[in-house]
């Protein structure tokens, strides 16, 4: 089951701050919803264990995330997520573009496509799409909140 998603989040931070945030495994990793464990491998890779529940299927997914800045467009990057657990698999590719917004703020324009396999897809079935969208939105919302908090702390 492939689930396409997209969104725009306005963040109270400069485009540079926003880009630095989403490129940093230590910071963006902590925005994974229902995070239970975060292991940062290097400046571009981290592993996050998250709690997942879709309908009757409940458990943990271990997600390996790779951050790849776009070599030609300095304001854009790819996030590749490869998750496994509960006999299921989750592959997500996501693209983020940081654009300047009014008042020196920034906007995160993101698109993502998640492919879910295994019982999570077959049992989660009809609940899955809504759940995946909500989880992804929550992640970007968490990024916004974190940047806001960081901005407030910085001020």
């Amino acid at each position: 089951m492939k689930i396409p998603m997209s969104g725009v989040e306005r963040v109270d931070a400069s485009p540079d701050q926003a880009l630095a945030f989403v490129s940093d495994p230590n910071r963006v990793g902590r925005c994974m919803p229902d995070l239970e464990d975060l292991q940062v491998a290097d400046a571009r890779h981290f592993t996050a264990t998250v709690k997942v529940g879709v309908g009757p299927v409940r458990g943990h997914l271990k997600m390996a995330v790779a951050i790849t800045p776009d070599p030609t467009k300095p304001n854009e990057l790819d996030l590749a997520v490869k998750g496994s657990g509960m006999g299921s698999g989750m592959d997500m590719t996501s693209h983020v573009r940081v654009a300047p917004a009014d008042g020196g703020a920034a906007e995160l324009h993101w698109t993502a496509e998640a492919a879910v396999s295994g019982p999570l897809a077959s049992v989660g079935g009809r609940l899955l799409e809504a759940q995946a969208k909500k989880t992804t939105q929550n992640m970007f919302a968490a990024i916004r909140t974190a940047l806001q908090t960081a901005g407030a702390a910085g001020a």
Partner: protein
Amino acid sequence: MAIEAPSAPVLGQALKRKEDPRFIQGQGRYLDDIRLTGMLYMSLVRSPYAHARLVKIDKQPALAVPGVLAVITGEDLAGLGLHWMPTLAGDKQMVLATGKVLFQYQEVAAVVAESRAAAYDGAAAVEVEYDALPVLVDAKHALDPGAPLLRDDREQKTNQIWHWESGDSMATAAAMAKAEVTVKQDVYFPRCHASPLETCGCIADMNKATGRLTLYVTSQAPHVYRTVLAMVAKLPEQMIRVVSPDVGGGFGVKVGVYPGYVVAVVASIVTGHPVKWVETRTEHLGSTAFARDYHMNVEIGATKQGRVQALRVHTLADHGAFDSQANPSKWPAGLFNICTGSYDFAAAFVDVDAVYTNKPPGGVSYRCSFRVTEASYLIERAMDVLAAELKMDPADLRRKNFIPPERFPYTTPLGWTYDSGNYPANFEKALGLIGYDDLRREQTERRARGELMGIGISSFTEIVGAGPSAQFDILGLKMFDSAEIRVHPTGKALARFGVRHQGQGHETTFAQIVGSELGLPAADVLVEEGDTDTAPYGLGTYGSRSTPVAGGAAALCARRIREKAKKIAAHLLECGEHDVEWADGKFRVAGAPERAVTMQDCAFAAYTNPPPGLEPGLEATYYYDPPNFTFPFGTYVAVVDIDPGTGEVKVRRFLAVDDCGVVINPMIVDGQIHGGLTEGFAIAFMQEIPYDSEGNCLASNFTEYLVPTAVETPHWETDRTTTPSPHHPIGAKGVGESPNVGSPSAFVNAVVDALSPLGVRHVDMPLTRERIWRVLREHGVVSA
């Protein structure tokens, strides 16, 4: 020693089933009831991906789970040469994946633990890294130039498994070109699953001291398992004992050997303990032998008056990732060329292309490997499409085209010789019983009021009793079957068979056959099946073959006993053997019938007073190679009403008039028909295993894959005609699958008939409320 023999004939009596007291008291002994000392449990790690490279398997997290003793992977099996196994269709199948996975829920690793819970926890802890590959789920794209190649292990670099043809394509094309009327229809028989209440499982018990392996397994064909295991695991066959305990429903799902069985055997050898493995429902629906998945295109050429002339069928068969059907080597598409049905076609041609997809392998359950259900559904559906084209009553169209009774034995243009049949008599009985003409009048009135009422007919012909050795084998093993009877000194008998029942009632019906041949009450004949150490070799129970094949063996084996007993009778009656007659269940002196001895007398004498020169004892074995198949038939009529607002179909009446030849136990036959009709109802209205574009199984549990309960199931009306098989020792034909084969078309024909005023000619199963509602919306009956 005179024990009174029964006077009433045992055959044809509605005796209560001998096996039922233990089942209804919870005293059955199913696989999961068996607990051996020191037994371990196994759970399988399965692929979430339908197609992916296997990058890495990390066993360590599983081995850290308390109670886990071992983790076995495909690479471990490769060391033993056991990572692939042959299938019954001549292909090979991965036992545990190496390199890549080809369907969701494919077996990837096995975890062996001290408890079932620890095994499950261990399986969940195994870390497997996959790299997803492009997925092929739609068989119609399997042969596209850009389609991913699934089986790169094969020499043939294509997703096509085989192409098969039957009939005369030139003659059929010529007849089709000349036909005044032709109709053409795409018909899809969706992928479904028999889903017996008991899932598959086994206990492998390798005794290291004796070197003997005992495999307790949910099997419809224990001897075949023994031979396959000997071949796969390279174990000497006499050192393998396969025991199939009570089986909680099979329907073909328990014919093939699954990877879990092979891994459990390895696990028992490795650990030195018995190892039990039992599937969950999701594993069962997601990985074991499915049924159908046949994309058919049918054409009929006919005269304007409705006389059929030519039949042409093209089929695309979705076999999943491995070709693991249980097919006779000569018949890759089974008996699909029975698709001319009950009708007299001058010419016919059928071809089938089988392809691989990223779906589970199988195609065995619901007699899928023999493809009779698909064939019957297709021709019965196509006849209604032709009737619609000709604006003719489908009953009249059938009447015009039945093979006439006087032409039996009848050879079809596709090569089968039907043993016997009287289609018009059976058909008119059914239409009379249901009041067909009155129903049509009522339908006219209702249609005038805008109501959606439909009447559907199926007048099918089955082909069962696989099979004659010249035509039929599994992996080269000829499809005979066997019986062994021992008559004890007190005149009681033990009868053992090579088949293995799973609810068919063999313990009763075979006792009736043996009893009636030997003049013994059925109660005095104990039937045993399922243990390869004691039962004679046989190919198992599926394809409605037990009565036609093992039932024949039972009768002929009993007659062999009777031949010997006759010599003893002559000795006891002090007359020549030629003066002894078998009449009314006793040996009598010809011309002086009051001088008689019973089988019990002869049995006692066989051990206490055998005639001089005659070998003592009273036992026999018989291997029966049937001279032909048997061809049961019947007429089913369904009457439905459709709610024009919701699309809900209510089956108002359903009548099944079967002809399965001589009936051994009418109650059991009725029971089998009720069960099969309920399955057919589920297939027609509720069941499908769909896959999404990524190959995710979307019906891997009972919330998505529906099983009818008493609430949904219609009331079944049944009746019979009797046309004996001329070649079967007691004239029986077999019945178990007739209702499953014959009923889906009756249901669909009824629903399409109800929708026909809207111009609808065909709707694919399952006819769910949603699907019918969409048809109604498309035709403006309901607004969106």
